[in-house]
Symmetry: C4
Subunit: 285 residues, 4 copies
């Protein structure tokens, strides 16, 4: 430990940091579970509020719970800023913005009373579900899934791109063949229909009625059915490849200086800013 | 054979146990086949009873067959309890409860005459299909499929979780974009529509009508189409991994003491309670 | 060549056998291609005949072409019987029955004039598409696909079986939840809807309207979406396994005695009846 | 460099060739990006023009942009012909025809004023999306995807063929079972419905109403659900196989004589016509 910046490991800020940012300690786990439950309750309330019959009956209950959750989130947001040494890093990070946006809606509703944007602002609270991702990130499988997607992103992009080109060409053909009587009013709508068909969703709100149109639809469907194999092959091969490689063990610590996570087990300094990490012995002691 | 608890291998209880619980002997096989046929007949009758036109015509026939099956199941249920040494283990096991619930509906219909719950109680008989699983368990492939699913359960859970988060966010956006004219009446309904679309089911009872809504729907569909590859990759890799490992041969014996199944070939004692198993030589002799 | 049964390799029966049953010689190839084209024309005509507007206009043309094709097929069927030494093996084989059933409809239409079964009898001609399979069998990939499906048949059966059990349980629940107003009239219809949903087809002719029903539908859809990975994993692993094994080279000969195909390259006697096969040198000479 | 045909590497034709055909130099990259943007704008305009409300408002804007793009494409097309030494190779190549067809529509609209074919001619401009493929070809993944599809083409063809045979047989059965009341008017329509169902698209514009029809539909759906695994297994195994092989590095050069692309890194002569390629040192110098 040749690091010359002494850290007061028993200060309340240090302890608060451990509770909020790390899931290794009992308090940290408890905090994460309470947070998870509050997020879930909050998301369910936002969804139920939009159902008129339920909202009419339980409006007061929802309002009170919403206030309790907002106050908890406000305290949590401020605590996160205080305990991190470089708050700007946190505030302008992805999760920092999510945390902020999902805390303010109730405060904004005072300012925007009677506004048309109120509905949208209240829906902002649903962004809280992304916070759950922050918690699930600690589960190794979540990381692996994310990694498989990121490493296959070029392939998936090329694939989606090819699907779009096929949809544009086929959609234009359907527009020329079917005409406006059967719902193929414009090329964008035809392309929309083509994607609905290629992806095997098939709403049926628009469907070809001419024989030529149905024949082309058949070709598109078989194409989509055969082509769905491509992303599967890509991701499958990616998983097989990742299975072979030895996965590096990551722990759940978060740097007290910049908030970076995903440190290797046994790492003593943050890979991002070089700040000293709390050694695992501390936690055990 | 240093086990000091002598078991009378020719007692009727022992023989009955062999018939009911094991599929290795000719009698055991016959019993399983009769049971399978009765379950299938029973399930078909419950289904046909719900079709009014058929029920009106064949009500008496169905009633008689139902009584025969119920009596057989009652005898089988009692036999299972008698032949197992620790009946509590069986009664409160998953299959014990299934066996009980799928036997009682006809008896309950006397008590609940004219009750509204009668329909539900009679539907309980359909739980008998789970008994078929108990029989297919003896087929190695069934075990393998179950194992592949169990070992991938964390990955599949994470995946479904991610799908739900996407559906909540996209559903809320669709609710804000489409408004109530096109069927997106509330956030829960929009989220329902989103899952219908993401999973490429696409009923078409609700479909976007605005250009923005159709554009977002397109994005959701392509996402769902690309993302369906993920569980496939997971299960596929799992199967490939399981192919490499040497599968342990399991036999179809069931412990006469606690009812545990899945014993290795050649095992002499139950892995669960340590009770002596009937050695395979016995069966051949 | 120690076989003591001399075969007159220049007899017309031998030559006809080569033309009809083998695709190695130029004449055999030509015969296969003519047959393929006639089958395709025949299938297209049967399909177009069912479209009333087209049938009214071209009825005479279709009738003449149909007669030409029927006469060709009759000659071919008789030739096949004559050239094979054990005609019974051919007549009662799968392809023998297909050949017979797809030849007779036009003759039957004289006997059944004005009959209601005429439509069905004429549809029999569509069985000719199976003849195409006989030709594609010569392509190695067709064999491989068939082999992959056959070797995975137990797994696929177990899988379909599990899907059916889930559909029965979930369908019964939907029937109890939704009631008869939204189209869930009986358990069989509910189970049908469940399979439509589980397989991600989603016609939308029946769709849940209650909140509970839509919630259950969501669970079913996600289940189906996740579970579609299972057969893919099974077949994928099967293909990978088959890739490793060294495939045995099969030739396109067919035994002149019993009609069995799929002989190994270089085989001198039929694996089925022991009859001498025409050696490959003959064909080259 | 023993090639005796001296090439003037500083001529304007040589430089223009580098800009248009190669993506290695800064100018070449810039040219590709401008081309890509113009293609995307052009495609979006063609699509928006077909939406009547938008076309009415922005007709003039679209017309001007369309002229600018057409002039750019005309210059590009002529430049490509001039800089290639064997213009016929380029003009009659796939991309040559695409380039020509996507350039002429605006010129044709003068000749065909008031013609019914005008709509189709204008839709021709959408063929420009294929030009994007020419650019994405430089990305290795695009090549890999294309290669995987090409190498699996026999398998995929056989698979689609088998799907078609199943659809024809099942479609005919549905036509015989359902009759004309529920939309199964003719065999082609029934086959169309069968493909809609087998590929799990499920529009719902036609749906079986009889019990037998729904039962057969169930069988078709489960078949389609199980069989979707086959192309996935094929492509997946193909990807795994390609992963093992060492991929050959290709560069982005295009032969100045015949226009062939896909040259290996370090290749000095065109694999197609033997003409000398510009050595990579040139570009660096």
């Amino acid at each position: 430990m040749k690091h010359n910046k002494p850290t007061d490991k028993n200060s309340w800020r240090h302890k608060l940091h451990e509770v909020i940012y790390e899931a290794d300690t009992p308090m940290g786990k408890l905090f994460d579970i309470i947070l998870l439950i509050l997020i879930l309750i909050s998301v369910i309330i936002v969804m139920l509020e939009s159902v008129k019959s339920i909202d009419l009956q339980y409006h007061r209950v929802f309002y009170v719970i919403e206030w309790i959750i907002t106050i908890f989130f406000t305290i949590e947001y401020i605590s996160r800023i205080i305990t991190v040494k470089k708050p700007k890093h946190y505030i302008f990070s992805f999760y920092g913005i999510i945390d902020f946006l999902s805390t303010i809606p109730l405060y904004l509703s005072f300012i925007l009373i009677g506004s048309n944007y109120l509905l949208t602002v209240r829906a902002l609270r649903l962004l809280r579900v992304f916070r759950i991702l922050k918690i699930t990130r600690y589960i190794g499988e979540g990381n692996k899934l994310q990694k498989a997607l990121i490493e296959s992103r070029v392939k998936i992009f090329i694939f989606i791109f090819a699907v779009l080109i096929v949809a544009i060409i086929a959609g234009t053909l359907m527009y020329l063949i079917e005409g406006e009587d059967s719902g193929f009013n414009s090329i964008p709508v035809s392309v929309y229909w083509c994607i609905v068909t290629l992806t095997t969703v098939g709403f049926g709100d628009i469907a070809p009625v001419t024989a030529t149109g149905q024949f082309l639809a058949t070709v598109i469907m078989i194409l989509g059915y055969g082509v769905i194999a491509v992303p599967t092959g890509i991701i499958g091969a990616q998983y097989v490849r990742m299975d072979r490689e030895d996965p590096v063990q990551l722990n759940t610590q978060s740097c007290r200086n910049c908030g970076a996570t995903g440190h290797k087990d046994g790492a003593e300094f943050c890979y991002n800013c070089g700040y000293e990490l709390s050694p695992p012995k501390d936690i055990e002691a």
